[in-house]
């Protein structure tokens, strides 16, 4: 049972800003994902919550209590490190038991708790192995088991899947989702992978260069990105962005004319998602020669060049054309997102 509140939390090293004025309340039992490109301050934020890094400014509260001056051990958080940080001299059983042992909980209960945790992550057969004798996926599960064994207030995970191969990542992701549902503990999960964020999160925090860009549910972030950074970071492929001018409610860029926008005149950045657009024979808002065609299996991705930018639209999987053929893409005003040409902030809703 823990609510976490970050109030104006910043971290600076000299003049370098790692995290800038982070404000957020994470309600009890929420699964929160910190998402952003490498080096944006996700790990630093998590380490400040764990107590491994002192914030330069601001307060961190757990259940309404300021914990800035508490040691990590007194915050009742558990953390899964990116490198797993298993204790190399202890076997799997001892690794999982370690938090119970150092916290001095009743030794009679240890075995049962360790067995329960290891069963949850399907490690029962490996309890007597040393970490060096385990595969990457097994090590990762030892780290998970060690974190859940003492039922902490807060669960912190730093890119727990990033060292696994693609297939294992999908299955472990599902396992983590199931586990978090079962444990119902406040969880903060760091990743640079937007698919992980979308599949796991109750709420996502998108960060860039230490600054929070947007906080919202996966759907909100996907449907209403707060700025061009979020728009271009979320979704696969990322949102198409075109620079152009609006005059009399009509957006104009090379090969492009989109009418029916309710916005004042001036330069804007217009965005739309490839899967919202439609490839038509003619009569679309973009008419341009095909730059490239990609067969995805379930669909065909058609790209054209508008100004300097590559703009893609999803066509039916049976769509066939040659590079250089003229194509028309239908982009009705309802699917368009508008962003300030200068700041990149979202305009309207």
């Amino acid at each position: 049972m823990a609510e976490i509140r970050l109030s104006g939390v910043s971290k600076r090293w000299g003049s370098f800003i790692g995290v800038d004025k982070f404000d957020l309340t994470i309600p009890d039992r929420e699964f929160l994902v910190l998402l952003g490109p490498s080096g944006c301050g996700k790990t630093t934020t998590m380490r400040m919550i764990a107590g491994l890094e002192d914030p330069t400014e601001g307060e961190i509260l757990i259940d309404g209590k300021v914990v800035n001056d508490l040691e990590p051990k007194d915050r009742d958080v558990a953390m899964v490190f990116q490198s797993y940080a298993l204790y190399p001299n202890m076997n799997v059983y001892e690794n999982i038991r370690f938090p119970l042992r150092v916290r001095g909980s009743d030794p009679a209960t240890h075995k049962e708790k360790v067995m329960r945790a290891s069963a949850m992550v399907e490690l029962d057969d490996f309890l007597h192995r040393k970490p060096a004798e385990l595969s990457g996926g097994q090590r990762q599960r030892v780290a998970l088991a060690r974190a859940i064994v003492r039922e902490p207030n807060v669960f912190l995970m730093d890119e727990p899947l990033s060292n696994l191969d693609a297939k294992l990542r999908v299955s472990t992701r599902a396992q983590i989702k199931n586990l978090s549902h079962e444990l119902a503990v406040t969880t903060i999960y760091v990743t640079h992978d937007q698919i992980e964020a979308m599949t796991l999160a109750d709420r996502v925090v998108v960060m860039e260069k230490g600054v929070v860009q947007q906080v919202g549910s996966p759907t909100e972030i996907y449907d209403r990105p707060a700025n061009t950074f979020v728009a271009s970071f979320i979704g696969n492929p990322a949102m198409n962005l075109m620079k152009g001018e609006v005059a009399g409610g009509t957006f104009r860029a090379p090969h492009t004319e989109i009418a029916g926008l309710s916005i004042g005149d001036g330069p804007v950045t217009l965005g739309f998602r490839a899967e919202d657009a439609e490839v038509a024979g003619e009569g679309g808002q973009i008419t341009a020669p095909i730059y490239t065609l990609e067969l995805l299996g379930d669909a065909t991705m058609v790209s054209v060049r508008i100004g300097g930018a590559l703009v893609s639209a999803k066509a039916d999987k049976s769509f066939r054309a040659e590079i250089g053929d003229m194509v028309s893409i239908r982009i009705p005003a309802q699917i368009c997102h508008l962003f300030d040409a200068e700041t990149g902030a979202r305009i309207g809703d």
């Binding site: 953390m79 490198s83 940080a85 370690f98």
Partner: protein, 293 residues
Amino acid sequence: MASKAQRTPTGLKIAANLFVVVWLILAAFPFLWTFWGSFKVELDFFSIADWTNALTGKNTEATYGRPFTGAGYHGAWVQEEFWRAVINTFIVCFFVVLTSLTIGTLGGYALSRSGFRYTFWLLIIALIFRAMPPITLVAGYLLPFFEWNLWGILPTTIIVLVAINQPFTLWMLHSFFQNIPKELDESAKVDGCTQFQAFRHVIVPVMWPGVITTGLFSFLLAYNDFAVTSMLLSESNRTMVPEIAAFLGTTYTEGNVMFAVAAVVSATAPLFVLVMFFQRQIVSGLTAGAVKG
């Protein structure tokens, strides 16, 4: 089945083995020669007339009726009470190793985990002090030790040896600690340890081979030291190495040199035992970079 690349030509194999055997004989020869000679009389081992006397023991046989004699050992251990020097050596070594390992382990750990820039300069200064010949330091110590009445006793020597030893221990342990990922401490702290508990429960067990290796090196430094012990210890408090030197210095009595030879053999034997005993830890300590997070 050995792959082609692993298969060595027979000629090369023989040459390699031959080389090892020759090298082994060369390296072991001084020890074997001394060991053999320690059971002879001075006139044999240091024979001017015929060096083969050292092998055959002609004069030994003439004196004692057998080609071997324990006279050198008896003289050194019983007559000259060499066992006092042995005890002194072990007292000195024990406290030097204990003190320099304690300070070195804690200090090396602290330096390896500190983000401050001064750690680099501390280590550089330590290296400079380590590079100085110990004798240059001893010259400076002598006068104050005389004035304060500290000269000649074991504790003074221990402190000086620790001071000379410490930079090396600090360096060596520091580099061992740096190979241990910081996340290991951090993970332990999140799991519920204080900084010291993290050190004791997680870091030291991983570090153990490194501690053993460093301890052995500083043991050998103290055990083999001549410059400090010969200058700072009074006659009654001598450790083995200056005691052996003293035996050698009294050549006017025939036979005393053989006390030195016997004492040399006595002083070397424990080292073999020690290295044999710790060899597994030493090997893993010297490759301690292999610690995985």
